[in-house]
């Protein structure tokens, strides 16, 4: 049963990721990215990472995908320009990606099966993650908080209009 669910999620993830990469319409790309993120959240839940599954849905689907959709709306004049985008350098890009994928799969193949010891499933990870956040990972946590603040200030500074252009 779990194996069947895993393969179903894998097919959903791969198909929607391929639709994201190959679709000519950028709106279709953004919405198939949604299904890819949801499938990854499902795999997190199957790997007993419940907190990360919820975080994936909140951060990626609720935050990053919404930002990307805003970017699509703001950078395509929908009435004037078509939403279609082109592909270039397809053969060299495909070659590089295929060689890299073959290398990765070869390494996975020669390493063999990892999961022979089959550790027991965790109950819930929320308490452990919360404890680790304020003890062992306190400094990275604070640094990431400052980085997010800097990113918000910088993004709003870059994306705003020039003062002179507003006045004129």
């Amino acid at each position: 049963m779990e194996v069947a669910i895993f393969w179903l999620l894998a097919v959903i993830i791969i198909a929607s990721a391929a639709a994201t990469v190959f679709s000519k319409n950028i709106i279709y790309s953004a919405f198939s990215l949604l299904f890819s993120f949801l499938g990854v959240a499902g795999i997190y839940a199957m790997l007993s990472a419940d907190f990360l599954a919820v975080t994936q849905i909140m951060v990626y689907v609720g935050g990053i995908l919404t930002l990307i959709l805003f970017g699509v709306m703001l950078t395509n004049r929908i009435t004037m320009m078509s939403l279609k985008t082109d592909v270039f350098n397809f053969i060299p890009g495909l070659t590089i990606a295929a060689v890299m994928l073959a290398g990765l799969l070869y390494v996975i193949w020669v390493t063999g099966t990892w999961a022979s010891d089959s550790p027991a499933a965790w109950d819930t990870t929320v308490e452990t993650i919360g404890t680790l956040t304020i003890t062992r990972f306190l400094l990275p946590f604070e640094v990431v908080a400052i980085l997010l603040l800097i990113a918000v200030v910088g993004a709003s500074f870059i994306a705003r209009k020039d003062k002179q252009k507003i006045q004129s």
């Binding site: 990721a17 990469v21 795999i43 990472a49 994936q56 930002l67 060299p92 890299m100 990892w114 990431v144």
Partner: protein, 101 residues
């Protein structure tokens, strides 16, 4: 789910390959962002799989930090794309040659 950690790793490799293909071949900057998000997701997936395999929660902590960095990256990157679009009326990376001489 105990016996196909290697299947999860293979899934993550395929997802990473699709992301690389998107970054290398697409023209629209927003689509390139989506492909970068696909690659970050695949790396997160393999981190969670290894964390499950070794029964160690540190991998999941790393995934949380990767998510935070991804949010910061996409905010700043989209701000740059919108700013360029306002000046050049295009989001096509083959026509953005401000830094080329």
């Amino acid at each position: 789910m105990n016996h196909n950690i290697d299947a999860v790793i293979a899934l993550s490799a395929v997802l990473f390959g699709l992301g690389v293909l998107g970054v290398l071949t697409r023209k629209n900057a927003i689509t390139i962002f989506m492909s970068i998000e696909l690659m970050l997701n695949s790396v997160n997936l393999s981190l969670v799989a290894f964390s499950r395999l070794h029964n160690d929660i540190t991998g999941q902590m790393l995934v949380i930090f990767v998510m935070a960095i991804a949010a910061a990256e996409v905010a700043v990157g989209l701000a740059i794309v919108i700013s360029i679009f306002r000046n050049r009326q295009t989001a096509d990376v083959t026509e953005i040659n401000l830094l080329r001489w």
